[in-house]
Amino acid sequence: MVDTVLVKNQKQKRARIRNLIILAVVLGALAILPQVTSEYITYVAVLAIIYAILTGSYDLTTGYTGPLTFCHGAFYGVGAYTSALLTLKAGFPFWVAFPLSGIMVFIFAAIIGYPGLRLKGHYFAVTTFFFGHFIYLVILNSVSLTNGPMGLRNIPPPEGFLGISFTSLNSSYYLILIFGILAVVFLYFLVNSGFGKILISIRENEELSEAIGVNTSLYKVLAFSIGAGIAGLAGSLFAHFFRLLHPTTFAWMTSEMVVIMALVGGLGTLIGPIIGAGIVTLILELMRFAPEYRFIIWSVALIAILIIEPRGLMGLVRRIQGGKK
């Protein structure tokens, strides 16, 4: 059977319409969620959105550009604590602390990334692992700054404007939903732009990419830093929504969780990791009652994914689609 150009275009059009409808439904559901469900579910949804931003930013670095990193939890944490401290101790308003924390994490990551991304083989990945743990230790032990294991409390919510206040659950939810949508849109346009194509070329074959004139070091550092910066922003959102920070929230388990979320959905597809974040958040909440099993199930799940379909959900979808023809 030969697909004529006409039939192909029709198929593409149908696929596009189908995707738009799905998107509309999902957005619609998210929009009315707090009105129709309990407070608890709204909390979970906020967490899911924040994780989606976190995982999407991870996909930018690892899924699209290539290097495996294990310190995304640390970037998340630095963003969270920076934003919290800027508002708590330095008196900045949220609307200033939020972008500042993103920028700070961006710079931070660039400083580590610039030399780090030159490391060959697995050196960089292992180094990020150490780096993540190092940050956790610093946060844990800088008691005078971060209160260490006692946690940071009473972080203020975002200041209201135009008569809207963000002290209630629902209004905070919508604020975070809007940020989530903005982040996803930003990432989407970024990975589908010329910049995104260059990143993909680096992932696919760094030597060829270099040979056609791409300054691969520069782009890798940029992808790493932008991904980190967005993770920092996600951290800030977390801090001002949940208003309580504890170092263990940002230990290496969180970095592992981000990796799993991205893998479940499918690295390098953007939509995959976002869906993955949603799925994993859901499962996490379902397992509230057996926290000891949580980590084991994560690790087993990670290995299972690697065995069955390392390209995650999106990989499975493609496999099925491929079979259909």
Partner: protein
């Protein structure tokens, strides 16, 4: 005080060196930074603990048991997991890290997070320069050194050892010459697992058994490998001892809390200026 810390540093450094030796072998042959060794460390310690506590085995037996369990676990991990993804390093690394978390948390699940005291098997000690050094600590150093010498001779003199050396220099060339890489891989993993298991059992009587006991030793051993171990057996030994000493002294004279952070900070600094490790052979 200084000498006390120095001795302690040497002892713990010896354990890092053991793990690092195995990691070094594995990483240089298979290009996998085997994080699972951290988990193997934990499991071996618990097995030895129960052997002594429940079955009243003598320490020597439990030490051998730790070695065997370590070797066996590592063998299975390579055979049934890593081997599936030959040539796909990212997946292997992810699996290694997942196994590390899996095994550690399995220990929490099975045996609770409560620290278990490993019974003293050789009480007493000697007096050295005016203070006491327990026999158990001396055993750690003695066994570690013995194993290092054993591994050294194994690699230099035996047939398998030569195959391992060839494979570590050039995997493809080794295969072309007729060396069975699968066998080499299995051997190397078993050695690594045995070394980690031994280190765990040796350290348990000194620092107790608890599920997260593998975390820091694994990371420290990785630091040793990255900073200089790729070259030689001797390099790993010196590196491990050195790190142990530096840490131990640092914890007293700088800060206990930042002790571990200090190590990583040093690692990151060194890698910044020496992207190929101190004795670089990437």
């Amino acid at each position: 005080m200084f000498l006390q810390q120095l001795i302690n540093g040497i002892i713990i450094g010896a354990s890092y060196a053991l793990i690092a030796l195995g990691l070094n072998l594995i990483w240089s042959i298979t290009d996998i930074p085997d994080f699972s060794q951290g988990g193997i460390y934990v499991i071996a310690a618990y097995v030895a603990y129960f052997a002594v506590k429940l079955a009243s085995f003598p320490f020597v037996v439990s030490l051998l048991l730790g070695m065997v369990v370590g070797a066996g676990l590592a063998f299975c991990i390579e055979r049934f997991l890593y081997r599936r993804w030959t040539g796909r390093g990212r997946i292997q690394l992810l699996c290694a890290i997942a196994l590390f978390f899996l095994l550690s948390n399995l220990a929490i699940l099975l045996w609770t997070a409560k620290t278990k005291i490993f019974p003293t098997y050789l009480p007493g000690g000697i007096s050295l320069f005016g203070f006491a050094v327990s026999y158990q600590r001396i055993v750690v150093l003695a066994v570690a050194l013995a194993l290092f010498i054993a591994v050294y001779f194994f690699i230099m003199k035996t047939k398998m050892g030569k195959a391992i050396r060839a494979a570590s220099q050039d995997r493809e060339a080794a295969e072309v010459v007729g060396i069975n890489i699968s066998t080499v891989n299995s051997a190397v993993f078993m050695i690594g697992g045995a070394l980690s298991g031994t280190a765990a059992v040796l350290i348990s009587p000194l620092y107790s058994v608890f599920p997260t006991m593998g975390d820091l030793p694994l990371l420290k051993a990785l630091v040793v490998v990255i900073l200089g171990g790729f070259g030689s057996v001797a390099g790993v030994l010196i590196g491990g001892l050195g790190l142990g000493i530096v840490e131990s002294l640092g914890s007293v004279y700088i800060s206990a809390a930042y002790q571990h952070g200090f190590t990583f900070f040093v690692l990151i600094l060194v890698l910044l200026f020496f992207p190929r490790g101190l004795f670089g052979r990437v």
